[in-house]
Amino acid sequence: MLKFVYLAIVAFVLVLITVNMFRKKNNFFFQLDAAIVMVTLLLRLLLIK
């Protein structure tokens, strides 16, 4: 049960980061940071790692 609460939190944070990545203008490194974080969150959301 608690696992799904945590996965929901991961999914929520992932959505926020993705939205932010598309909003950020003139800052490629911010976008790159966001992409790297997305990889780790996706791996956990999909229960791969």
Partner: protein, 377 residues
């Protein structure tokens, strides 16, 4: 036509990279679930799953193979646990060697090479540990997984802030929630790690196992290393073994502390009739002082930083530039196991236990542990 803003284009390209990275990493991490083969040797009479004793483990990553080596001659029984901590390879490889080489002449040997099967499917975070290590056998090189100290978080997550050991109420750091050697005697309705512990405890009870030995390694700077830790019931057996092996190598016997809970040498002795023992060898790939960690460090045990640390007295075991090889660490485990079985005749009451023709400490050192493993197939 309206021009697409530059930041939308870069974000879209990055998304493609994210998907590609996730696919690639999924393939890499999934490969850790692929079990390395263990070849049942001439002594193996039966292979069962741990879920045979505790069906609650069926179809979970905690279920694991139990190899039964029944000599056909009635006598005592011994259970050997390898891979309680899959980042301590001498325990795992010693257990694999028993399965592939040992042929008991009296009594029955039970071997669980991958006691925490789930922990074999990942490595510890921040350690930069290799996913595999390689051992040369007489017929080619075999790969074995280097795993984690704890159950894969994919199988059991999240950890609580504080881990409360169920039967004693002892409080430990939350990360110990996934440590099999803090979960005994285990719980039928507990988390996966507690269920694995419960399965092993049930096996010991149902099969009336006389001796249980849990094989471990620790970092060379740790205090309990090159040691046998024995539950008070098994203390005499450990002392007799010490006498027999101390001509070959230095080892100490420690009594299991009564106030440290969840460990095999405490709980299996308290909650079952088995004589519970645990062994530690010194593993330079496990400590905090080693350099680059790769298969070579795991197998050769050679590390220049540990050599230097030893000259400062920062290491609790003898350590030179020739290192402490996996063969040497397995030789320690195997020599003591053979002696536990032999010495049981003097202090036990359930008949003989004879592991048959096993190599001596010197022979394992000379020929390498790979010589006693099955060829690569």
């Amino acid at each position: 036509m309206k021009k697409i803003p530059k930041h939308i284009i870069t974000a879209s390209i990055l998304c493609v990279f994210v998907v590609a990275a996730v696919i690639y990493l999924a393939i890499v991490f999934r490969s850790a679930k692929q079990e390395e083969p263990i070849y049942a040797g001439p002594g193996v009479t039966e292979v069962r799953k741990l879920s045979y004793w505790f069906p609650g483990l069926a179809n979970t990553s905690g279920d694991t193979d139990v190899y039964i080596l029944d000599s056909g001659v009635p006598g005592a029984s011994m259970l050997v646990l390898g891979g309680t901590h899959p980042n301590e390879p001498s325990g795992f490889i010693s257990a694999v060697m028993l399965v592939e080489y040992c042929r008991p002449k009296a009594g029955t040997l039970y071997v669980i090479p991958r006691a925490n099967n789930s922990a074999f499917t990942c490595t510890d975070p921040q350690e930069a540990a290799p996913m595999k290590f390689y051992i040369d056998t007489d017929g080619g090189t075999r790969a074995f997984r280097f795993g984690s100290r704890a159950t894969n978080p994919i199988d059991q997550w999240p950890d609580s802030e504080v881990y409360v050991h169920a039967s004693s109420g002892q409080k430990l750091s939350g990360s110990e929630t996934r440590n099999l050697n803090r979960a005994y005697p285990g719980r039928e309705d507990g988390n996966l790690t507690e269920k694995i512990a419960y399965g092993i405890t049930t096996l010991i009870r149902n099969e009336d196992i006389e001796i249980t030995v849990d094989l471990h390694e620790a970092s060379p700077e740790y205090t309990t290393v090159n040691a046998i830790v024995a539950h008070e019931d098994a203390l005499e057996l450990a002392a007799l073994t010490l006498w027999e092996v101390e001509d070959s190598f230095q080892i100490s016997v420690e009594k299991s502390p009564t106030n440290l809970h969840g460990l095999t040498h405490r709980e299996l002795g308290d909650f079952t009739d088995t004589w519970a023992l645990l062994m530690e060898t010194a593993n330079p790939s496990q400590g905090r002082l080693h350099g680059r960690i790769d298969s070579d460090l795991v197998v050769s045990g050679k590390d220049k930083f540990y050599t230097r640390a030893a000259t400062y007295g920062a290491v609790t075991v003898p350590y030179t530039e020739s290192g402490i090889s996996l063969s040497e660490r397995c030789a320690r485990h195997i020599t003591c196991l053979v002696q536990f079985a032999q010495q049981y005749a003097f202090v036990g009451s359930e008949g003989d236990l004879d592991l048959g023709d096993m190599p001596t400490y010197r022979q394992i050192l000379e020929n390498g542990i790979g010589h006693y493993l099955a060829d690569a197939q």
